[in-house]
């Protein structure tokens, strides 16, 4: 498996959903039969293990690999339900300077022999942690939400990725937390507006959903959480990564676009005031 595909999910701004996207994209690819390893490159502020529900199973971290205490295959944590999904966990007590870009290249090189897909969860910011995360990847996925601060940071990150040798052919965009009702009412930027402005290929549109919070509460990726519609979006994105031609409109096809009616408005009014 020398030809594993290595993705980095990055954004510049924090809190736009990178970790959630890494967890759910990895789970979706693993459910389709591929061996997937997720790397938490957010040293010191880890939370990919929490989103995956693996926080109590982490014994060794990436720092043990870097210091030579353990080999990389020995420190991987296997997901409880998805047996071909693995996590290389980060350390809460370490800092970003304890891992160098060369360390990350070595780690990814070793993992490439065992996995079809490796997805690196980049930390927020554009400093050492960002460089560590992007140096070993072949393809970058830039995540933004429809607010201007996040778009501005995404634009900056695209510039830095280009400096690192990335081109428009290996940078894709995911727009997270779109509210189709607001877009329809002309009160929110659409994914297409952002795509045009950043001049990137659109890999997926993820609508705002409380399913994300519920699945994180359970520590289960959406593809194995019960009763949610959002896993279809991650399946679409993973299909696009696999080279399938899935129209981007399909990401929002299961979502209710119609503005709320009068009764819904009154109901929400009382709910908000109560």
């Amino acid at each position: 498996m020398e030809n594993s595909k290595v993705f980095v999910v990055t954004s510049g701004k924090g809190g736009v959903g990178k970790t959630t996207i890494v967890a759910n994209l990895g789970a979706s690819l693993a459910k389709k039969g591929y061996n997937v390893c997720l790397i938490d490159a957010d040293i010191g502020l880890k939370n990919l293990d929490i989103v995956l529900g693996l926080e109590n199973r982490v014994v060794y971290t990436i720092i043990d690999v870097v210091t030579g205490n353990k080999s990389v295959m020995d420190v991987l944590v296997k997901h409880k339900q998805i047996k071909n999904l693995f996590l290389l966990a980060s350390s809460q007590i370490a800092n970003k300077d304890m891992v160098s870009p060369d360390d990350m290249i070595n780690i990814v090189s070793k993992l490439s022999k065992h996995f079809h897909y490796i997805i690196i969860d980049s930390p927020a910011g554009i400093e050492r942690g960002f460089k560590n995360a992007v140096v070993a990847a072949q393809h970058a996925i830039v995540v933004t939400t429809p607010d201007l601060t996040s778009i501005s940071d995404a634009d900056r990150v695209v510039g830095l990725l280009e400096n690192q040798g990335y081109t428009e052919n290996n940078i894709s965009l995911i727009v997270n937390r779109i509210k189709p009702k607001l877009v329809k009412k002309n009160e929110m930027l659409s994914a297409n507006d952002i795509k045009e402005a950043l001049a990137l290929n659109l890999l997926g549109i993820i609508p705002e959903s409380e399913d994300i919070l519920l699945s994180t509460n359970e520590g289960n990726p959406l593809s194995i959480s019960r009763g949610n519609k959002l896993h279809v979006v991650f399946d679409n994105i993973s299909d696009r990564i696999l080279g399938k031609n899935i129209p981007i409109e399909k990401d929002l096809s299961g979502i209710d676009h119609t503005p709320e009616g009068f009764f819904e408005f009154i109901k929400n009014l009382f709910r908000r005031r109560g």
Binding site: D155, E162, N186, E187, M188, L189, D193, A197, L269
Partner: protein, 93 residues
């Protein structure tokens, strides 16, 4: 009157305008990718100190806003009588 106040303007239009304003640098960068970007300014009555300031300002601006290395910003200064021509050549790799 609350709760029936109406927004006077669709906020998406404002957001698009603002987004395009602050992304204009990156769009220029994308348009000029893989080719050199040359711009010129002409100044009159400039002393040596001001000249150095302008040259450093151009280099700093290119490094900060255009994501290029400092050594890839070539600033050429030529004097003709009492005027000075500065040509900045910014190389994108």
């Amino acid at each position: 009157m609350w709760p029936f106040t109406r927004k006077s303007k669709k906020t998406r239009e404002t957001a698009i305008k603002r987004m395009n304003a602050f992304l204009s640098n990156s769009q220029t960068r994308n348009d000029n990718k893989n080719k050199n970007n040359i711009s010129q300014i002409k100044l009159t009555n400039v002393d040596e100190e001001n000249l150095n300031y302008v040259v450093n300002y151009i280099k700093d601006y290119a490094v900060t806003h255009l994501s290029v290395k400092r050594e890839d910003v070539k600033v050429h200064v030529s004097k003709e009588e009492n005027s000075i021509t500065i040509v900045a050549n910014i190389i994108y790799k």
